[in-house]
Amino acid sequence: MSPDNALLTDEELGSLEHTALARHRLEEQYENLEQQHQAATLGIWVFLATEVMFFGALFVAVFVNRSLYPEEFERASSRLNWVIGGVNTLVLLLSSLMIVLAVHYAQRGIRKRVVVFLGLTALLGLCFLCLKGVEYYGDYVENLIPGWRFKAEEWVSREGLRPDQVPHVKLFLFLYWVMTSLHALHVTIGICVVLIVMILARRGRFSAEYYTPVDVTALYWHFVDVVWIFLLPTLYLLGTHQW
């Protein structure tokens, strides 16, 4: 069966694809596609649980050290670019909407819209990474990279900290770089997976009966968004800002 089927609309395709194509997708150990979908969903959720523990440990590190060194952490946090951080949050939230709509139309077997919304998700993900790049460059210019570009005397003279407090500033910046880079790596992997699923969708591999890869990818993408939702106040908004 050719995946193109140019003579049929997407809705007609959706209603036809529940036969041979659906049976082809059923793995041996499952009774039906619904059970297979549930197993896949459980699998991705357990993976997301491990990711929560992965990022969670870093969040606990920020909380512990913030309580030990509040002044240094607040000063260092206020030097981060909250504008780009805030805009990136909005970008990721919008991308989450795009992928949830992709799943919505995948459930209805409307292939063209699935492809469009997956494409928009990947595009917004790329937008997030570009803004991150701009932000990282700004951090480089501002000497906020401990171990590479960092001037201890700036923090003593400009920010009024004591010399013995500077290592704690470096600690905050280290945590900032590790957490945001790790998150950016997850976004990059997410974009690759979204693009692969988009190509598979374009080739007609999914239907209203079988759209599990779209669903599973969406769950991963939403998780990446949730991590950023927590990263914003934890890293960027610890101190008070002024206009």
Binding site: E34, H37, Q38, T41, L42, W45, V46, L48, A49, V52, M53, G56, A57, F59, V60, F63, V64, R66, S67, L68, P70, E74, W82, G86, T89, L90, L93, L94, S96, L97, V100, L101, H104, Q107, R108, G109, A208, E209, A218, L219, H222, D225, V226, I229, F230, L232, P233, T234, Y236, L237, L238, G239, T240, H241, Q242, W243
Partner: protein, 104 residues
């Protein structure tokens, strides 16, 4: 077609959730401009983040009408994360309470 699809949100519903999420984001950032104690900033920020995460999990990740298995995994994850955070913080916050003993 999957039975669940009949009960999930419409596209307009998802857009509504997004608008609420974006408003909460603006609120989080605005909170950091209020000069008050650290507790307000940190706690307020985390509470708003938790509210946003809940909206994403319940509506975008379809947990509200999802299976009991999914809810079980989420509850267990939260429990284990609270253990991680709780015990670590309990260690750090009680350091120095018992002076002059080895290991303290």
């Amino acid at each position: 077609m999957n039975d669940l699809t009949e009960r999930l949100l419409s596209p307009i519903g998802y857009v509504t959730v997004l608008v609420i999420l974006m408003a909460l984001t603006v609120l989080t950032v605005a909170l950091s401009f209020v000069s008050s104690s650290a507790a307000v900033h940190v706690l307020g920020g985390q509470l708003i983040a938790a509210a946003k995460a809940s909206l994403v999990v319940l509506f975008f990740m379809h947990v509200l009408r999802g299976s009991a298995q999914t809810r079980a995994v989420i509850v267990v994850t939260i429990f284990w994360f609270c253990l991680l955070m709780g015990l670590t913080l309990a260690d750090y916050f009680t350091r120095g309470m018992i002076p002059n003993l080895p290991g303290h």
